[in-house]
């Protein structure tokens, strides 16, 4: 399997050769243009245009029901699973249309991992949880390689020390925070480019939350991360770029500092100062 390619043969633009390194950083990893989503005719998001920078954390904030999760799930086409959901517009990953006719969602979702609101480990062993992805994608030829991938992913997710002696124990026996880090390990085991996180800390206590936030900060050097969060403090702590959604529209997107200190839109100011939401 060739990295950086949703379909074979890869299109010319997906190759990074010939660009200077900061040019890549400037080029958006994901570009959404005129994205509209409706559920059985009810419009959930309207005309969203958003560029997501590579190797940075982009936080999507906004009041409940504003469409941030819907938008997130458009990126790896999880919305395909909801039959009444209709997506129009264009989303590209490395300049390739995510909704293109020849795109295989299996390959797409390998490249765009996802962490969900509630920790959802498989009811299997800790090892099996991490090994499942690489195994179905044929990323490990031998058992040793798989062991290595599992160890590396757990180390990167900051869980290795806690579970290395009980890899065969059921994952459901871990605490909530550990389960969520296991889910992150499971997502990064298949070596994605992008990790989508849908309120990953909403079911966790403050200490577990702090650990996940630290982890997100570490992962930023290697992955493009998009995180949906209800907590403005969390968005301020972890993100470099912040996008504010309101009633299905993308109101404003900018550097996190600007959004939280000097937003240009009145609605953003009202939300971040706590007067609406």
């Amino acid at each position: 399997m060739i990295d950086n390619a949703l379909v074979q043969p890869p299109t010319v633009l997906s190759s990074s050769e010939g660009y200077a390194s900061d040019a890549i950083d400037l080029m958006p990893k994901i570009r959404a243009s005129d994205v509209n989503v409706s559920y059985s005719g009810n419009q959930a998001i309207k005309n969203v245009n958003l560029d997501i920078k590579s190797k940075a954390v982009t936080a999507l904030i906004g009041p409940s029901g504003c469409g941030k999760t819907t938008f997130l799930r458009c990126i790896n086409r999880m919305n395909d699973l909801i039959e009444s959901c209709e997506v129009t517009g264009n989303i590209t990953l490395d300049n390739e249309d995510v909704y293109g006719a020849d795109v295989d969602v299996v390959v797409l979702r390998r490249r765009i991992g996802m962490v969900f609101q509630k920790p959802n480990p498989f009811p299997k062993s800790i090892y099996e949880n991490v090994a499942y992805g690489p195994r179905i994608h044929g990323q490990a030829a031998k058992g040793d390689e798989l062991d290595e991938i599992v160890e590396r992913s757990l180390i990167r997710a900051g869980l290795w020390k806690e579970v290395k002696n009980r890899l065969e124990a059921p994952a459901t026996g871990l605490s909530g925070g550990q389960q969520q880090r296991l889910c992150i390990a499971r997502a990064i085991a298949v070596e994605p480019d992008v990790i989508l996180m849908d309120e990953p800390c909403s079911a966790l206590d403050p200490i577990a939350t702090a650990r996940i936030e630290e982890l997100i900060d570490d992962l930023r050097t290697k992955y493009t991360i998009v995180i949906v969060t209800h907590s403005m403090q969390q968005a301020a702590r972890v993100s470099q770029r912040t996008a504010f959604f309101h009633l299905g529209e993308l109101v404003e997107e900018n550097d996190a500092k600007v959004i939280f200190t000097n937003p240009s839109d009145e609605r953003t100011r009202a939300y971040v100062t706590g007067s609406i939401g």
Binding site: N76, M78, L81, E83, V105, V106, V107, L108, R109, R110, G113, M114, F116, K118, N120, P121, F122, P123, Y132, G133, I136, H137, C183, R186, A187, A189, V190
Partner: protein, 414 residues
């Protein structure tokens, strides 16, 4: 606070109603079990008469140096009758002798033959054997020769006299009725057993399990996990739910028309019985499997899809294993229902008198509930306890199947 007392009283009232409901249903169950066991236990006990059988060569018509095959040709009926006559000292006329012979069971000569064939070295001497009595003696003996038993029995006064004499000589005993478990249907209650019907039921259930499990579970997985939700699948769903409520005899008619009429499969065969039962259990299996699949948390599906598992991988690696306890329970409950089903089997001719246990799926066979139905219809009084006994065997089977469902469920839930 106002109304608190009234609320507590309401709770207490509801608790009493609930307990009363449980007591009523439990008493029905207890009544049913007591009456069935009370009648049916007799089927597992039989009366035997000790007869001194003269197996000397002259008596059985063989000469020194006979071949073992010749032993099978001996007229054991006369040997048994001679033994019976020897029990009664007085001289008997023809008619009286015949009345005496009727004390011993219809299968006694075969019982004796099998015993002699098993031990050929007994030939040449006089040997005592316990042979099964006739059903009338059996009933009279088990009733404890009370006045009520005397009124009900078909034995004549003379026969009762002989019986009492044998009894006082310790030549009458009761023993466990193996024939009931190892024999097949017979016109004579004392040699009738449930083995043939049990084998027939077993074959039919095997066919039913294979068909309804594969077809039913695959249909449920497809409908639940792969099919689009549209008018067509809604139509299917309504029809499956309706089929689950269709009277079972209708499936028998369907089987008669299609399997026997159109495909020309053999009549009375357990293969066709199984196929008809599968038609009947399919809706149940599909519905319960779908419920089990629906009960798997959507977050598991999302987790699998989220790391790029395909639909088939998601379903077979994660969803089906989690739904397995429910699917199994549903299937076994469907099977248990099929085990007790009579009506559809009547339609395809599994109601015939079958004196031998079937050895293949296409041979004529009976089934346990059909056997119950047949015996319940027989005029001999001794069949009443056989009927209840067969019901007990059926209940034990059901109990075992439900136990299996519980064990499998526990195992898969780990």
């Amino acid at each position: 606070m106002p109304g608190v007392v009234e609320r507590h009283r309401g709770e207490e009232r509801f608790r009493r109603f609930g307990l009363a409901a449980i007591a009523v249903s439990m008493s029905f169950l207890a009544f049913f079990l007591i009456s069935i066991i009370g009648t049916g236990y007799g089927a597992f006990i039989q009366t035997a008469i000790k007869i001194d059988v003269d197996l000397t060569l002259l008596e059985i018509g063989l000469e020194e140096g006979f071949a073992t095959e010749d032993l099978a040709k001996v007229r054991y009926r006369s040997v048994v009758r001679a033994g019976m006559r020897a029990l009664i000292p007085e001289d008997l006329g023809r008619r009286e002798s015949r009345a005496l012979y009727r004390l011993i069971g219809a299968g006694a000569e075969f019982e004796l033959r099998d015993k002699v064939l098993a031990q050929p070295d007994l030939v040449g001497s006089v040997v005592s054997f316990w042979l099964t009595s006739s059903d009338d003696v059996d009933l009279y003996n088990k009733a404890g020769s009370t006045e009520a038993a005397e009124q009900q029995t078909r034995l004549t006064a003379k026969q009762i006299e002989w019986y009492s004499e044998l009894k006082s000589n310790d030549r009458i005993k009761t023993r466990f009725n193996w024939i009931f478990l190892t024999g097949s249907d017979s016109r004579d209650p004392e040699v009738a057993g449930v083995w043939g019907a049990t084998v027939g039921s077993f074959f039919a259930l095997g066919v039913c399990l294979l068909l309804s499990c594969f077809v039913g579970v695959l249909a449920a997985i497809y409908l639940e996990e792969f099919a689009a939700r549209n008018r067509w699948t809604q139509f299917l769903e309504v029809n499956i739910n309706n089929l689950a409520a269709v009277p079972s005899i209708t499936f028998g008619l369907l089987g008669l028309a299609i399997f026997l009429g159109f495909f020309g499969l053999p009549r009375s065969a357990s293969l066709v019985g199984g196929m008809v039962l599968a038609l009947m259990t399919l809706p149940t299996v599909i519905i319960s499997s779908r419920v089990a699949l629906q009960a798997v948390a959507p977050s598991i599906r999302e987790a699998a899809f989220g790391i790029g598992a395909s639909r088939v991988q998601t379903v077979f690696h994660h969803v089906v294993p989690l739904a397995m306890p429910g699917i199994l329970t549903g299937t076994i409950i469907g099977m248990a229902r099929a085990l007790g089903e009579t009506a559809p089997l009547l339609m395809i001719g599994m109601v015939a008198f079958i004196a031998d246990a079937p050895t293949s799926l296409t041979q004529p066979a009976s089934a346990l509930p059909v056997q119950v139905y047949l015996w319940a219809d027989s005029p001999e009084r001794a069949f009443a306890e056989k009927t209840a006994g067969a019901i007990l065997v059926l209940l034990v089977f059901l109990l075992l199947m439900n136990l299996m469902a519980v064990i499998l469920r526990r195992k898969f839930e780990k």
